[in-house]
Amino acid sequence: MWNATNSDAVTIFPRKSYSKQFIADFPDGFLPFQIGIVGVGYAGFDSMTPGLSTRELMFEAATRAYEDAGVDPRKDVQSFVCCTEDFWEGISITDEYMPDQLGAVLRPLCTISSDGIIGLATACMHIMSGIADVAVVESHSKISDVVNPDEIASFGYDPIYTHHHFDADPRFLAGMEMARYLKETGTKREYCAQVAVKNKKNALSNSRGVHGADIDKGIVMNSQIAASPLTELESSKGIDASIVFVLASAQKARKLGDQTVWIKGIGWSSDTPVVEDRDFARSEYVEQAAGRAYKMANVKSPASYFDLAEVDDTYSYKELQSLEAMKLASKGKAGKMVDTGSFDADGRLPVNASGGSLGVGHLLEATGLHRTLEAVMQLRGQAGRLQVPRAKKALVQSWRGIPTATGAVAVLGN
């Protein structure tokens, strides 16, 4: 029995009905949709945020997002979604700690333990189903509160038969993926290093770019080896931040202002947890997630469709693998394209013009929201020194990190 205190929370928002022909164009049952991103706010983006508790950090981010959207969370929002993971928080059943700082006390809130883009997808579904007209998605990283993050990442390996073999930093899986990717695609080793060079350089122009640097491939390749062939400078480092998005139905978004960025397609997919069974060279889960998002957004030729992309670069090779999985480069060609500048901030398709995770920092489950944040700033024309001229269509993609094989993709437009 749903006993909401606010009468508007039980309103079912009428959805636009689609013509038969319109639906027939989407034979797999996908209805065309447009969900508006009407507000965004963030706080943190620092290696440490010792002055603020997680909840205070979230309050700052959420306050900015509501101000940006022009909504009052106590009256105007019918669904709140948080993306957090108990072990990163250090609290069991973390979801119970989320309402107050988001304005969600005694309102519908759920937490999903997955990446923020999957949280966006969840909010889209709440809006499309008619139970919400405005929905909020939050995710954060307070990695500086975690003393031994490797213990937690390692604990993601199968507890019964994988976890106990190795007393090694969990990145050995990334090393193995990278090795197989390089071998199968014939990609030159140094092209991976160039991803780190590009992204760290881009981050120097980003006020959020904690790990920006002006370095060359030699420095990247000669930095300490984490798990061969992966080096330390090719591994993103965790930082703290909270990011909040306000989403609205198309009807509502039009009333809320003129800087709406639209989610036009969104997809996600998970491969098997049996790491041995995966195709190490390619990210099949990203291929699938992108395929679904493209279909919803009617993207026929991804390589020429987008004005910018913010894609997974938790590790250098991941960017290449992701670009190929999403058909922004053909198989085995992403490395060469990075090396020749096609994906530079002023290249044919700017990829991680923000600096990505390598340049800005990694945000645990908030990483997907970080990529979306950067893309939204671009599509609003508010990206400052990072601004890609005439940016109208953007692609964002995330991966949940070691040892997962879960990816999510969203197509955005203004």
């Binding site: 508790s53 509501y66 106590r74 700082q101 006390v105 975690v146 003393v147 213990e151 507890p159 106990h164």
Partner: protein, 168 residues
């Protein structure tokens, strides 16, 4: 059990079989470690406890006085406005006598758990703490209590700087 199935085949696993290793399992002690930033509100709260004081935050909009303090009012959704010192006395809102420890053992000395609504804070604003210097049978909802503090040299800026609340 359903109407169709009235008994299941099988037998109990004996402790000896487990000791013999007949059934395999994996034992691992997971040891995540955290160092949580207490934040603006709770840092001040704990610092004041060290000085033997309980502080709260006031929201000017709903005029509630929140303890433990928070930098935001969850009802009005706005920053709270002012630090307010509240008393170290209060009223037992509710209580329970816990007879079972975290390891499922029966406790020889039961733990007296209570929510104490603090005097000076808004109604229903309280601190979850222990009761002490009281017979179990004498505890009641609505009982007036006061904090019993550790000595000033013993206090370290933790909720345990208050040992317990005792009846007054």
């Amino acid at each position: 059990m359903s109407q169709k199935i009235t008994s299941y085949q099988g037998r109990e696993i004996t402790p000896d079989e487990v000791k013999e290793g007949k059934y395999l399992d994996i034992v691992y002690k997971f040891e995540p470690k955290y160092s949580w930033a207490a934040g603006v509100a709770i840092s001040r709260f704990l610092t004041e406890l060290k000085d033997g004081k309980i502080v709260a935050r006031k929201c000017y909009k709903c005029e509630r006085i929140l303890v433990p303090p928070r930098m935001y009012c969850e009802q009005c959704y706005r920053p709270t406005d002012e630090w307010v010192q509240v008393k170290d006395t209060g009223t037992v809102n509710t209580f329970s006598i816990s007879h079972v420890g975290t390891d499922a053992r029966r406790l020889k000395t039961p733990i007296l758990v209570a929510v104490v609504d603090i005097d000076g804070a808004s109604p229903g604003m309280g601190i979850l703490h222990n009761l002490g210097e009281v017979e179990r049978s004498k505890i009641s909802v609505g009982m007036k209590v006061q904090a019993v503090w550790k000595g000033s040299e013993e206090r370290q800026g933790a909720i345990t700087d208050i040992r317990y609340f005792k009846p007054i």
